[in-house]
């Protein structure tokens, strides 16, 4: 599925909140069909980077190019129109809407007819194994189902790039397995994915390429093996002392 076509290029992007530099001249490249894991300790700037790509923040510096369009500073709904959809770390389902309706809202972006959008939503519900809660309201869903629902909504928009913010946080191992299965399935359909995740085992098994962010900078990137074997990765998570000791 992986092609050579570069679809997303984040170049020299920076964002500061007051004196706090959240993203510090970061770079990121993604090819069509690629599944990138974005990792890093808390506060490394992962979610901020997502917010910059998805249009929730405008960067202070740098460029973000998606399929030939400069998207830095664009509004979230325009970014989504171009084909980037995101999920949220704290899930945001439409509480009074059913699972089907939640996903249907995403499908309405490219399919104005509610009837047709509903049948798209039904297919996605099947793809995500959410059939049992198809008619349950967002307010009634469990955490893993809310996470899947958000993934379903991003797919429904017809986006080619999905930004998934911790889709497995707070889940038990069997639930994580289920989400992993779904993510592999939608990646195999040709969608590119960038995933922020703290569960290293999950990220390592899912992603071919890992980017490690630390204090707003891309500290290192490479295959899962390259990243895990790099002492800088251990240092970023556990501190320099620990890295020195383990050497």
């Amino acid at each position: 599925m992986l092609s050579d076509e570069l679809i997303l290029r984040v170049h020299d992007v920076a964002k500061a909140f007051g004196g706090l530099v959240a993203v510090d001249h970061a770079h990121l490249e993604l090819h069509r069909g690629q599944l990138i894991g974005l990792i890093g300790p808390n506060g490394a700037g992962k979610t901020t980077l997502f917010n910059l790509i998805a249009g929730y923040y405008a960067p202070d510096a740098g460029t973000i190019t998606f399929e030939g369009h400069e998207i830095a500073g664009m509004k979230p709904y325009d970014v989504c129109r171009l084909g980037i959809a995101r999920t949220f770390q704290t899930t945001k389902p439409f509480l009074e809407c059913t699972t089907i309706e939640n996903i249907l809202v995403g499908a309405l972006l490219r399919e104005p007819s509610v009837k047709k959008a509903e049948s798209i939503a039904e297919r996605i519900v099947d793809l995500l194994d959410l059939g049992a809660v198809a008619q349950a309201r967002g307010s009634e869903l469990s955490v893993p189902n809310r996470k899947l629902l958000e993934v379903g909504r991003t797919i429904a928009t017809g986006s080619t790039l999905l930004l998934l913010d911790e889709p497995m946080a707070g889940l038990v191992p069997t639930e994580k397995e289920q989400v992993l299965k779904v993510l592999r399935r939608i990646n195999a359909d040709g969608r590119s994915i960038i995933i922020v995740e703290h569960d290293m085992r999950a990220v390592m098994s899912l992603c071919s390429h890992i980017v490690l962010l630390d204090r707003g900078k891309v500290l290192l990137e490479g295959t899962p093996q390259q990243v895990t074997e790099d002492p800088r990765a251990i240092a970023a998570y556990l501190g320099d002392d620990y890295a020195a000791a383990s050497n």
Partner: protein
């Protein structure tokens, strides 16, 4: 597991279908009853309360179109007043029939809606609610103190009177003898607005409004231009409210700035929507059907204490906001859903028994 799912889905489907049938029958019965009412009831006081119910129902239903997007207007009297003043000025000074005044009144309300809505509906939070409240107060003060703007007579505090034509028997200029004509006009307007809201709720814009009022961030992440859909809802609400103002002016044959532009009137419109269920199509009408008779009753009993109705309104508002945010409509929906699901479950149970 799987067969359980299909049973569950089948149950939902059956319940939904029976709800739809009940809904259509109910709508048909209500419309028929509405059309027949003036022939059955001749008491003019009763009719005037019914017309007031319908008019407040209409106004809170049009108010409800903006609240569907999650923003509450506390100054909707401004748009009623703009509509009423526009058609009245056009009729009394240029002899334009108020029927055309409906379009003009709606258009003027939309014009001011753009000025209020464009900046504030881009913001989150209470700015819109505050702006509508402020706008209504300013408009009332302007109307109370301005005798004329250039050649246009505003009338200051007495407002503008509309002269009777042919002792009221002049449908071509929106005047009727007795109550029956007004009754059918407002009944028709209410039916149209409800039908419109009902349809809007089932197409894309309605789904987008629901998404926006549930979560703006999530709505934006799915490609929805939140500000644009909010503004669309608001302008539609302004137009229809302005049209309602024309009816109000013709029914009373006057525009009185203390009443038509009063903040108390704004509060009443919002209150009926909130009590009935501000996130639903029919809620506002239910609210007015319940509250108008109560307030008429109270007005007659408590006329010695003029502010008493306001106090009671305030209490009702607080109680509903705290204990029943979905309003009366929410209660009904819940009950109907429960009943219809139970009914189809029983039916299935019977079928399974006979199969066995």
């Amino acid at each position: 597991m799987n067969s359980e799912n299909t049973t569950q889905l089948g149950l939902e489907e059956a319940a939904r279908r029976s709800r739809r049938i009940v809904g259509i029958v109910l709508a048909a019965v209500l419309i028929a009853a509405g059309l027949a009412l003036p022939f059955v009831v001749r008491d003019p006081y009763f009719m005037s309360v019914v017309i007031l119910c319908l008019m407040m129902g209409y106004l809170s239903a049009t108010w409800g179109i903006i609240s569907q997007t999650g923003q509450l207007s506390f100054g909707h009297s401004a748009f009623v007043g703009l509509g009423g003043y526009t058609s009245t000025i056009l009729y009394t000074q240029l002899n334009v029939t108020p029927w055309l005044g409906i379009l003009a009144g709606g258009a003027v309300a939309v014009l001011f809606g753009v000025i209020i809505g464009l900046p504030t509906l881009r913001l989150r939070g209470v700015y819109f609610a505050l702006a509508t409240l402020a706008f209504a107060s300013i408009l009332q003060i302007v109307a109370l103190t301005t005798l004329r703007i250039g050649p246009i007579v505003i009338g200051a505090s007495p407002g503008i009177q509309i002269n009777l034509v042919n002792s009221g028997d002049a449908p071509q200029v929106f005047q009727f003898q007795g109550k029956m004509g007004y009754y059918y006009v407002i009944f028709g307007m209410l039916c149209l607005v409800l039908l419109l809201s009902f349809i809007l709720n089932r197409i894309r814009i309605g789904y987008y409004w629901r998404a926006i009022r549930n979560d703006e961030d999530a709505a934006e992440s799915l490609g929805i231009n939140v500000a644009r859909y909010r503004i669309l809802g608001f302008l539609l609400s302004c137009f229809l409210t302005g049209a309602g103002g024309v009816f109000y002016a013709q029914y009373l044959l006057a525009v009185d700035p203390r009443r038509i532009l009063g903040l108390g009137f704004s509060t009443e419109i919002a209150l009926m929507g909130i009590v009935g269920g501000w996130q639903s199509v029919f809620g506002p009408v239910i609210g007015s059907a319940v509250l108008v008779p109560i307030s008429e009753f109270l007005r007659a009993r408590l006329s010695a204490i003029p502010q008493m109705t306001t106090v009671i309104y305030g209490l009702i508002l607080v109680v509903f906001m705290v204990f029943l945010p979905q309003g009366i409509n929410g209660l009904i929906v819940k009950a109907v859903k429960e009943l219809s699901t139970q009914a189809s479950r029983r039916r299935r149970h019977r079928v399974e028994k006979t199969d066995a």
